[in-house]
Symmetry: C2
Subunit: 474 residues, 2 copies
């Protein structure tokens, strides 16, 4: 894919605009980051409302003719739209979220997580990268787009949907977008809630894995019993939980549930070639993973394993005695917390059914089980590599960064797939966060020069998309 500048937004004008408006932009973002919009904390419901109202005001000031709070049974979302006015213009829906992960100075933060501090070219605060910074870049990006092109409305119809429960698993999101599908109708979704490979390697994410997760409780004896008196003659739920876990992988570390891989394609030669373009360094990757070796499905590289292959993972296993020393019991119960990551071709509902049947068939008499999935699961999503919007995005990013843009994927899962499925359009990912940004961890930050490159990408993107439309490529 080329980075040919085929658009109507002159680069120097954009850069001049960003230089002169950068300080005010960061000042505004800092105000927003001070609102502790922690969706997991019921005591923060008022802060979620404050955060949504603050964003609505900021979007109106940006120029959005429509900006409103959308209530949900949980935390509110923010919706805004700015029609292009051009006949036949593309419609783009930007997705992000204004809620943040919990954060407490006492967890090990160097400074107060809700008192943003700019230091060494970084802005430290909870939500700086995940996701307020990446949402807010679209305000300055849009203003730069208008100023540099002399337009009074964007070159495409721009819609924004900024949810308030992403860090709590988006419990009301699918319902919300289904109920508002007509207003949200668009040609593509731009998700600004992901990252790129590294500060030196701008990348576009082209997919996220899906997720099926849940809990399995096994019940054996009515209470813990003596392992001397009874051990070896009755089923032990901890042993059975372990046997299930072990049986879930075959000798090639593939998931052994029959039918699990139905519909899953091996990475294509093109996909493998794109992955090979990334400057992958195993030792560095292991440091990021805080791990001491790689291990996974035979026949696949590390990047293929985390991005293109489905997995089964134990998130927690608990049963029996866990105190100091020993206690010779056969435990009464054991509990497994687990997650499956899914890739294109897999359906969460079908995977839940396959796993449920498989578990039920494998447990011996005397072990009762309760299997619960956390909701309906999350579908995987994948941007087709030949999608015209992906080419537009790559060109915009290439102009902003002045480097070749590579392709990544996201091993995690998110509500992007809901947008893809409910609205029936492809999803593009515009994210400028880097692995060191500390999502969900202490000392979360955003790199200010990368944030401004994101603003610049957004400023070019609307023109690139409009040019593609105008020239008949979309």
């Amino acid at each position: 894919m080329s980075s040919t500048p085929d658009n109507d937004v002159p680069d120097p004008a954009v850069r001049t605009y960003l230089r002169t408006h950068r300080a005010r932009f960061l000042d505004d973002l800092t105000h927003w980051l001070r609102i502790p919009s922690v969706s997991a904390d019921p005591d923060r419901a008022g802060d979620l409302r404050r955060s949504a109202n603050w964003l609505v005001a900021a979007l109106r000031e940006t120029g959005f003719p429509v900006a409103e709070v959308w209530s949900t049974p949980g935390a509110p979302a923010v919706y805004a739209e700015w029609p292009s006015g051009e006949p036949d213009a593309l419609t783009v829906l930007v997705y992000g979220h204004h809620d943040v992960q919990p954060a407490d100075r006492a967890d090990g933060w160097d400074t107060d997580p809700f008192e943003p501090v700019a230091r060494d070219g970084r802005l430290y605060a909870r939500g700086a990268a995940d996701d307020k910074g990446q949402v807010f870049l679209h305000t300055l990006g849009l203003r730069a787009h208008l100023t540099a092109t002399g337009r009074t409305a964007p070159a495409v119809n721009v819609k924004l949907l900024i949810e308030g429960e992403e860090e709590s698993g988006s419990p009301h999101f699918a319902e919300l977008i289904a109920a508002r599908a007509e207003r949200l109708a668009c040609d593509t979704v731009i998700v600004s809630d992901t990252g790129m490979w590294s500060p030196d390697t701008p990348t576009v994410c082209t997919g996220m894995r899906g997720l099926v997760d849940g809990q399995l409780d096994l019940y054996g004896p009515d209470q813990d019993i003596h392992s001397g008196s009874f051990g070896g003659a009755v089923p032990n739920p901890a042993t059975e939980a372990a046997r299930l876990v072990a049986a879930l992988h075959d000798e090639d570390r593939r998931v052994a549930v029959p039918g699990f891989y139905d519909g899953v394609a091996e990475p294509t030669d093109q996909e493998r070639a794109l992955l090979a373009e990334l400057p992958f360094d195993e030792a560095g990757w292991l440091r990021t993973a805080a791990s001491h070796a790689t291990l996974g499905e035979r026949g696949h590289t590390t990047l293929e394993r985390i991005w293109t292959r489905p997995t089964f993972e134990v998130n927690g296993i608990h049963g029996g005695y866990g105190g100091p020393g020993g206690k010779t019991v056969v435990p009464a119960t054991a509990q497994l917390k687990f997650s499956f990551r899914l890739v294109a071709g897999q359906d969460p509902a079908r995977v839940q059914r396959l796993v449920g049947d498989w578990v039920a068939e494998r447990l011996p008499a005397g072990i009762r089980h309760e299997l619960v999935f956390w909701g309906a699961g999350t579908r995987p999503c994948l941007t087709p590599l030949d999608h015209p919007g992906l080419r537009s995005l790559v060109r915009a990013m290439g102009r902003a960064f002045g480097r070749p843009v590579r392709f990544t994927r996201e091993g995690g899962s998110g509500p992007a797939a809901d947008l893809q499925d409910v609205l029936g359009v492809p999803v593009l990912f515009l994210g400028i966060s880097v692995p060191s940004d500390g999502w969900h961890s202490v000392n979360e930050k955003v790199e200010l020069d990368l944030l401004l490159k994101g603003v610049e990408t957004a400023a070019y993107l609307w023109g690139e998309l409009a040019a593609d439309r105008r020239d008949g490529r979309w």
Copy 2:
């Protein structure tokens, strides 16, 4: 084996003596049970000393010319001896313990565990069955033996060793008996710390399983990491713990560690025949086990599995997230608490070595492990079925109960094996507790008529042993 009365203790005289001394005996036992000699509780060290001193006084009153407290680095033991005075008399060492399990009224006891209550022919108190009642029966048994035979000293040399740390794993016991082996020298040990099949089926236990137990800690990532970003590409210690557990059994539920069964013999036809004499009722046994099905090594009955076969059991498994809902992490660590029960032919030190090697070979790169065994393990012990002392014991018990005596074993493990190994003599088990007595549980009790049958058995036993010696059978 016959129940022929081949001895010098006339039954009616014993029974008359017991009738007239029963009230005083129970009154004394009640006093002892009031002392909360909980060895696991450091605050009860004074009560352990009181309990030991009380027993010494009671043994002196019984007539033991020697009765003393033996200090250990932990709780004290009690030692006593009463020489027969007969030339060439056998020497018997009675083993029991005066410490008890923790107990608190709030755990669900109907009455105070340290305020004994006699009700419906039972005496309820912590330690009533395990083990003060079964220790104390030897005092009245010995007096009845003397009175009924007109002797001033027992027909055999009687020694008693009553330890104070059995409920805490006997941490100083092996050391104690090794240091005092000369004074403890004997022809056989009588362990009075086990039970019999049921109130209607008097039995003699002929063996206990050995024990190797410990803890395995597995370390993967340096902290919990995101299962979406990294899952499927790095080793997961919870998964590896589960795979070890699963691999420890083969498809026949036999322990799969190579060499584990070396030296283990299948039950002989005689042993199987003796087990078949027991009125085993699977539904009733499952109720006692609080379990809902049997499961174990293929090709063996439930009783063979718990008494004659070695096992591996998970006592606890813990790793990763265990709170409400889900958390999609690859856990940093996982911990396994485990126990192996051993049978005749197996050596704890060798099993520890085999298990250590097996674990080390199976873990993938990136998983560090720490394996700790709780001490040197406990050896199995087994009374030879043709041992003359066993015949004496069976006759004594048959006279007391007026029924055929069957044979059981004990699935658990105890310090009996230390006595067997250090003193180099066979161990016999004289126990009258029944499965409903609530050892280590709430509302522990002893059945008073069975306790008195135990007294009566002890009263006959010394004469039976002396007769066997006199007649050249031992």
